[in-house]
Structure formats: structure tokens, C-alpha cells
Amino acid sequence: MMKTWQAGKRLLPMTATLGLILAGCGRQDLSVLRPQGPAAESSFGLMKLSITIMIVVLLIVFAIAAYVLIRYRRKPGQHEIPEQVEGSFKLEVLWTVIPLILVIVLAVPTVQAVFAAGDDHSDDKNAVKVKVTGHQYWWEFEYPDYGVTTAQDLVIPAGVDIAFELTTKDVLHSFWVPSLSGKIDTNPDGSTNHFSFSAPNEGVYRGKCAELCGPSHGFMEFKVKSVSKDAFTAWIASMKAPAVMPEDPALAEKFKSACLTCHAVGDMVGSNGPSLTGIGSRESVAGILLNDDTGVDGAPILENLKTWLHDPQSVKPGNRMPDPKELGLSDEEIDGIAEYLAGYTLE
């Protein structure tokens, strides 16, 4: 028993250090261990509680194991038969009751948090509603109250509860922004899911698909951009502005006939592919080619657009976009469209 208590005392500084180590783990915009919003905080709180309880359990087991293995190893020449102990009622009750108590300590806040997370804000007047639709391998975000649809970058006002409604157009996907919230699956119609989170701080957060959905599952990433309320209003307004088309009329015609059968820009709607409205202002091309002029995380947007348009399959194997070359575009036309798209920015 003494040993156990000593292990217990050593635990306090250990958990504190543990907290520090964990907080140092991973990118702020990606790691579960560096929560940036209340939903992620709630999960992280339970994790810390459970990790602490579990480390206590592990230390007790390890300590007893180490003690037994050192103290009771068979010594050379030891021949007498050890006492055959049948069991010990007291001890057995002890290690039934203590785990039971530990389970209750974890179960109570778990149940509370489950019901708290069940509040999906779908009837909340102040919440911003977003319809998330998963597609192989891209994300569609529709704002039904504003009549706006975008893709890959989810723009939200900071500090406001977002009421999500999630479905998929094809296979199952799972919508996950680790630093803001846990994940939830996108099921086909009939099993539509609702949930909610908010991002108090402005910033860009990385999101991922967390359900195997085909070859490019690992590339089905997206970004959540939390902006000020004013910026959000301005963004909605510019999303609703009339479409900007390529200046060269021949190119515009090509763009319309080859691309807009699936994609949308502004009020010209195609819905088989991600909307391209304001793609010049996005964080990535196709969710996975990160736009970064410094070249650290990715490449400048023009370069990314060219990479994508010249060979979509090499970027995301199995994706459903036809090769622009097979749609009858020449290399120059592709470069022209890339330049047009790179320049299609929003406020």
C-alpha cells in the first residue's frame, strides 16, 4: 500500500507536466490538444480527466508489476512450494469497487457533455445556418439564409454559433475540424445529422475528412476561416455579386461550355462540382494544394491552379473532374483560365 501512495504523490507534478507536454503537441490550427473553441474544449476537458485517471491506474499496475517481478523471482536453489493462495475476498472487492468509482467519476461528466453537445442550435435565431454536403472528394458549404454556396473554405463569423446540417451526395464522409470540434459523419438523405460549434478567435483552421471515402480520402481537406462579423457580411455580399467572367470572350465561351456545366461562378449555377466564385481568395486549390506565396506550406495560387488543371488525377487520384484536355482545352487555354481564376478574388 505504501508504494501506491508514494506513486500517488508523485502524480501531481506529473499530470501538470503532462498537460504542458500535450499542449505543445501539434499545430495550433490542427491539433486536438490545442483547442480553439468551446466544443473542442469540452472534448479536451474529458480527455484530460480520463488521461489523468488512466495514468493513475497505469502507475498502480506498473508499480505492482515491477514490485512482484523483482521481489518474487525464483532464486537458484529455491525448491519449497509457495503457499497456494486461493484468493482474497477483501482485495477482490477492493479492485472491483475502486475501478467502479473511477468509472463513475468519468461517466458523470461524460453524460453531461454528451447532452451539452446534443444542442445543435438548429432553432437558434442567432446562429448562422450552414448546410455541409460531402462529395468524393470535396466539401460544399451552403448558407441557406443568405442564398450563398461555396466550397473548400468554410467562412464563418467569429464567436457566433454555427448550426450545421450535414449530408453526403455519395459515400459517407466525416466532417472534422480538430482544433474547433469533434467530428460528425455525413450520411445520405434520411439520416441527416445536425451539430454545432463556434470559433471565438479569428483565424484559419484545418479540417479533414475522417471517414474512408475512396482513394483520395486523405486529400479531402478543407479550411475553416473565422472572420469578424463585418468581414463576414462583406464576404456574403461579394459572393452574391454578379459573376466575373474571363475578359477574353473566346476564353469566356470555352470556360462556360467546358467548366460551367459542373461548376458555378456567382449566379451562374452548375452544381456537380465545387463553386468557383472567388476562388482567388481561397486558402487552397482542390482542398489539398495549399496556396502559400512563401512556398513553405504550398505554392502560389496560380501555380496550384495550373497543377490542378493540367492533370487533376495526379493531384487527387479517383476524383470526379474530367481532364480539361479531354474537354477540348489547349494548354494555353488552360493557363488562361488558371490566370483568370487566380485573379477572381473577393473583398
Partner: protein, 612 residues
């Protein structure tokens, strides 16, 4: 030929071991390929499709074809001996179970060379696994292969239930049964209830894919979430089917090498039953993020956490078995002792996962990958190695080299922790599972590198084991009846390997740890419960093999029944279900022969017994 027609449980055990070993090797190679692909960001060693096929086949092979047969090998080798029986209750079924399992496994693996392996994950979630999104025959190989293999497992489970209920030696009441026999008994009961669920699911999915049914098709009124329920109603009990035998093995090895009886035997039995019971009530903890709503999530969270209690009982009972004993660090015991802390680590992450709001973060990330490898590899596989090293002399009459055994243990366990410990952190840092590669600059690179190196080390551990088996097989078979000297149960009272009929005279059991009890009373062996008499033996038969071949052919035929072969003769054969019918004819014909022509077996007469 002898091996194809045998119905002897000891030979069937060796067949299971071979089959399991080969499938385990295939699954292991797949794992190494997966880890090589993940060694660095944006690696191009494998393409995305191949990667998905590899993870699917790795998971499926390991769970259904790799570890299950090794479990069955040990059960077959040991259970009849431990309960003092001459064979299992239904030797014919025993052979049938093995052959259907083997042909199911072969069918599944044929997918690699017949147009593409399944690629929807070992969980085969619909709609990804439907024919609209998985267009090769891969998933058909999965559904049909697993149905056939599952039939074998179900047959095996029923056989062990009957064996343990009816064939125990006089005096061996249930509460005098060795823990491994208890574990086998409970495991078989779980198999009996869990495998029909997956069979139903697989049949429905087969119908969806091949006959155009709509069980899981939203547009036709079906529901893909239904598949998840069916799969996990089987899938969760399945993980207990895997771990309970390991618990049983550990409960045999630790007492032997501590020279002490198992601490808290009755609470161990109780905990085993409770785990099996709770195991059926927690399936939806794999589905917290499916959107079941807070009430279901809360209930399944709490029921899952409760499993920690009986599991904890077991861990402390093992520790206190060693307390006050004389612990010897032989290879089997090293594995058993390594099992305790490793499995505990997997158990505690299980409890963490059980907390639904935390699981919203953990689910489908590398954290889960770490968790289930800690319980399956750190638990079950370490347990199997303990069991294999422990019972090897009984199965083959030769002691494995202790020296190489220790090398196996240390490389394997160090490699194991290197591979999987870091994966907890990868998951928490945002790496989802089943991704074929990942972007750089996410702080995933170093941990993935460590993980891959660890996997290589585990591979080295396996090579040591293979070398050990090979070297040992060339030595003379000279193992003593009780080679570990402290054997406690009936299998150590007879020669290694045992004669065909196991016990010349069925022993009389006078308590728990029957052999140990006689030894401490100063006796050399067991008191027989019957005079030497003629022993009835079942005849060898080729029917189980034929029946399985028939099902195999029927399965293949059905799978390709809608294909255009571009060859009118082939198309004719397949599209008119002629191949399927031929296969079924073989199976049913063979059943008919078996029913019409009685085979009463043969006898070993007392004179022959004395002659040996």
C-alpha cells in the same frame, strides 16, 4: 493425404497453425508495405488505390484469417487434453470447420490476382462498399470469402461448446475447469451468437451487390447506417472472441511459472462471463459520430466503461498470482508478463474512447489505430506467443529454443511499442486513419518515421520466431511429459506429443489444477477412472475437404455470375449458374454420401495399447 482426411484434433490443430501462420505472414507483409508508404509525407511508394486495398486486406486478413486460426490451433491442441477427453465432440465437424475456414481465406486472398482486392476497409461501410462505388469484384471476394470462412468459425465454436459441456473427465466440474477451457467455452458461446449477425449482414451486402437488392441503398429505401449496426453487433463481440482466449492463456502460463494457483479463480470465471455479456451491449461505441443522438451515445458510453471493471479484476488477479510466488522468466512467461502492462495500456485508452464527447475527437484517427493494436497485438498476439511457446513441446514434442525465444520477445515488444505508442499522439495531433499519405509541415513526419522503424523491428522479431521454429523442427523430439516441470493441468500428464487416443485411461479429477494436486499429494500421475479398455476412434474421411471445395467453387461461380467473359462458353457456364450448381452438387453430394453410408469408426484394443 493423411493431412487432408484427418479428424484428429491434434493434427487439425497443426493444420490451423500452418494456415494461420501463412495468413498472418501475408497480413504482416501488407502491414510493412503500409508502413513503408507512410514513412514520409507525400510518399509515392504505393498509389492510393493499392493502399486502400492493402489496409482492407491487412485488417480483414489479420482479424479473420491470421489470429483466429491460431486461436483455434491452440484450442484444438489443448482443450481435449485439458479436460481429459480423447477428442472433440464432433471430430468430423472439426475437420469441416477447418477446411471451410481455409477455403474461405484462400478465396478472399485470390482477389489479389483476380481483378483487385476489396478496398472499402475491413469494416466495408456502405455505400463505399456498394457496387456503385467499389466497382471491382474485390468486395464480393470479401463478402463471400468471409461467409465461407465464418461458417468454419461457427462450426468450430459449436464443436467446442459441445466438447466442453459433454466430454469433461469424471470429477471435472465446471468450477474445476482450467481457465483456458473456461475462456474457450465462453468464446465459443460468443461465436455462436455473434457470427450469425455478420453472416446475415454479408448475405445482405452480397445480394445488394450481385443481385441488385437495396438493403443499404438509400435511393431504393435502404439505409447504409443499418450496415454499421449489423457489422458492429458482430464486430464488438468479435474483439472479445479474440481477447478472451488470450486471457485464458495468460491465466495458464502465469500460475505455472509462478508455481502458484491462479489468484481469485472464481472471480476470473465471473469476470469472463461478465465481459462476454457486456460485450454484446456496447457495439454502438464504434458509431458515436454516426449521429445516434445523445441518449444512445450516453448509454453506450456508460456500458462501455463498465467493461473496464471485469477487465481490471483480471489484471489484478494475475498480478497477485505472482505475488508470493516464484516467478521464472521462461519465454512463455516473458510474453505473459509483457502482456499485462501492454494490454493494460490498450484497456485504458479503450475507456478513454468510451467517453463519447472525447471520442468525437479520437474516432477514426491514429489514436484508435493505436488503441486496437495495443489490445490486439499487445494483448492477443503476445498472449498467442505465450501460448505457442508454452504448448509447443506438447504439440510437437520439441522445446523451442529459449535463447531465440528471448530474442523474439525483446525485438517484438520493443518494436511494438515503438510502432504504436507514437500513434496515439499522431491521432491527437490531427492525423486521421486510413489516409494513403499526408501533407508535410503538420508535425506528423518524425512520429511516422519512428512508427515505421518500429514495424521493421517487429518484423525482425517474427523472423527470430520463424528461425526458432525451423531450427527446433530439426532436433529430435525428446520433450518430457511435463517439460516445464511445474505443469498443473491434465495435458502435462501424458506424453509429448500425445498418442492418437490421448489418454489410455480417462483420468479422475480431484480438484482444480488436477495434476498439481496429485503431484503435491506425492503421486506420480493421475488416478484412472476406468480400466484399460478398447478405445473407439473416428475414421479419417475426405468428405469435409470435398464439401469445402464445393462451397468454394459455388462461391466463385456465384460471384462471377453476372460477368461477361468475352468468351461465350465461359459466359454460358457462369451466367447460367452452372458453376455455382456444380459446386453445390459437390457439397450436397458429399453430405448425402456421408449420411447414407454409416461409418462406425474403429477400435484400438487393449493389447495394442499395452504393446506400445
Amino acid at each position: 493425404m493423411d493431412w487432408i482426411t484427418t479428424v484428429d484434433h491434434k493434427k487439425i490443430a497443426i493444420l490451423y497453425l500452418w494456415a494461420g501462420g501463412i495468413f498472418f505472414g501475408i497480413g504482416g507483409l501488407e502491414a510493412i508495405l503500409i508502413r513503408i508508404q507512410l514513412i514520409k509525407p507525400m510518399n509515392t511508394f504505393l498509389d492510393a488505390q493499392t493502399f486502400n486495398e492493402l489496409i482492407t486486406m491487412h485488417g480483414t486478413t489479420m482479424i479473420f484469417l491470421g489470429v483466429m486460426p491460431v486461436i483455434f490451433a491452440l484450442m484444438n491442441a489443448v482443450i481435449p487434453l485439458q479436460i481429459g477427453a480423447r477428442d472433440v465432440a464432433f471430430p468430423f465437424l472439426n475437420a469441416l470447420g477447418f477446411w471451410t475456414f481455409l477455403f474461405g481465406g484462400i478465396l478472399l486472398n485470390l482477389s489479389w490476382i483476380m481483378g483487385g482486392a476489396p478496398d472499402a476497409g475491413w469494416t466495408a461501410y456502405t455505400p463505399l462498399s456498394s457496387s456503385s462505388y467499389s466497382t471491382t469484384h474485390g468486395v464480393d471476394f470479401y463478402t463471400i470469402g468471409l461467409q465461407i470462412a465464418g461458417l468454419g468459425t461457427l462450426i468450430g465454436g459449436i464443436n467446442f461448446l459441445a466438447t466442453i459441456i459433454t466430454m469433461r473427465a469424471p470429477g471435472m466440474s465446471f468450477m474445476r475447469m482450467p481457465m483456458f477451457a473456461w475462456a474457450t467455452f465462453i468464446t465459443s458461446a460468443i461465436i455462436l451468437f455473434a457470427f450469425p449477425a455478420v453472416t446475415v449482414g454479408l448475405v445482405l451486402l452480397t445480394f445488394d451487390r450481385i443481385l441488385g437488392a437495396n438493403f443499404f441503398e438509400t435511393s431504393g429505401g435502404g439505409n447504409p447506417v443499418l450496415w454499421q449496426h449489423i457489422f458492429w453487433i458482430f464486430g464488438h463481440p468479435e474483439v472479445y472472441i479474440l481477447i478472451l482466449p488470450a486471457f485464458g492463456i495468460i491465466s495458464e502460463v502465469i500460475p505455472t511459472f509462478s508455481r502458484k494457483r491462479l489468484f481469485g479463480y472464481s472471480s476470473m470465471v465471473f469476470a469472463t462471463i461478465l465481459i462476454a455479456f457486456l460485450g454484446f451491449m456496447v457495439w454502438a461505441h464504434h458509431m458515436f459520430t454516426t449521429g445516434l443522438g445523445p441518449v444512445a451515445n450516453a448509454l453506450f458510453s456508460v456500458s462501455t466503461m463498465l467493461i473496464a471493471v471485469p477487465t481490471g479484476i483480471k489484471i489484478f488477479n494475475w498480478l497477485f498470482t505472482m505475488w508470493g510466488g516464484q516467478v521464472r522468466f521462461t519465454t512463455p512467461n516473458l510474453f505473459a508478463v509483457g502482456f499485462i502492462p501492454t494490454f493494460t495500456m490498450g484497456g485504458v485508452t479503450g475507456v478513454m474512447l468510451a467517453s463519447a464527447p472525447a471520442d468525437f475527437q479520437f474516432h477514426d484517427t491514429y489514436f484508435v489505430v493505436a488503441h486496437f493494436h495495443y489490445v490486439i497485438v499487445g494483448g492477443l498476439v503476445l498472449g498467442l506467443f505465450a501460448g505457442l511457446h508454452y504448448w509447443w513441446p506438447k504439440m510437437f514434442g520439441r522445446m523451442l529454443s529459449e535463447h531465440l525465444g528471448k530474442w523474439t520477445f525483446w525485438t517484438f515488444i520493443i518494436g511494438f511499442h515503438m510502432t504504436f505508442f507514437v500513434q496515439h499522439f499522431l491521432g491527437l495531433m490531427g492525423m486521421q486513419r486510413r489516409v494513403f499519405t499526408y501533407l508535410p509541415n503538420q508535425q506528423f513526419d518524425l512520429l511516422n518515421l519512428i512508427s515505421t522503424i518500429g514495424a521493421g523491428l517487429m518484423g525482425v522479431g517474427m523472423l527470430f520466431f520463424l528461425a526458432n521454429v525451423f531450427i527446433t523442427s530439426r532436433k529430435p523430439a525428446d520433450a518430457a511429459d511435463d517439460p516445464w516441470e511445474d505443469g498443473r493441468t491434465l495435458e502435462w500428464t501424458i506424453s509429448s506429443p500425445p498418442p492418437e487416443y490421448n489418454f489410455k485411461q480417462t483420468p479422475l479429477v480431484r480438484g482444480l489444477d488436477a495434476f498439481w494436486k496429485e503431484k503435491t499429494a506425492g503421486h506420480k500421475g493421475m488416478t484412472p477412472s476406468e480400466p484399460v479398455g478398447s478405445i473407439h476412434m473416428p475414421s479419417a474421411t475426405v468428405h469435409p475437404f470435398l464439401m469445402s471445395v464445393g462451397i468454394f467453387i459455388a462461391g466463385l461461380g456465384f460471384m462471377f455470375s453476372r460477368d461477361d467473359f468475352g468468351n461465350s462458353f465461359m459466359s454460358f457456364l457462369f451466367n447460367n449458374y452452372i458453376v455455382t450448381a456444380l459446386g453445390l452438387l459437390i457439397t450436397f453430394g458429399s453430405m448425402l454420401m456421408r449420411s447414407l453410408f454409416d461409418d462406425h469408426g474403429w477400435h484400438i484394443e487393449p493389447e495394442e495399447l499395452e504393446g506400445r
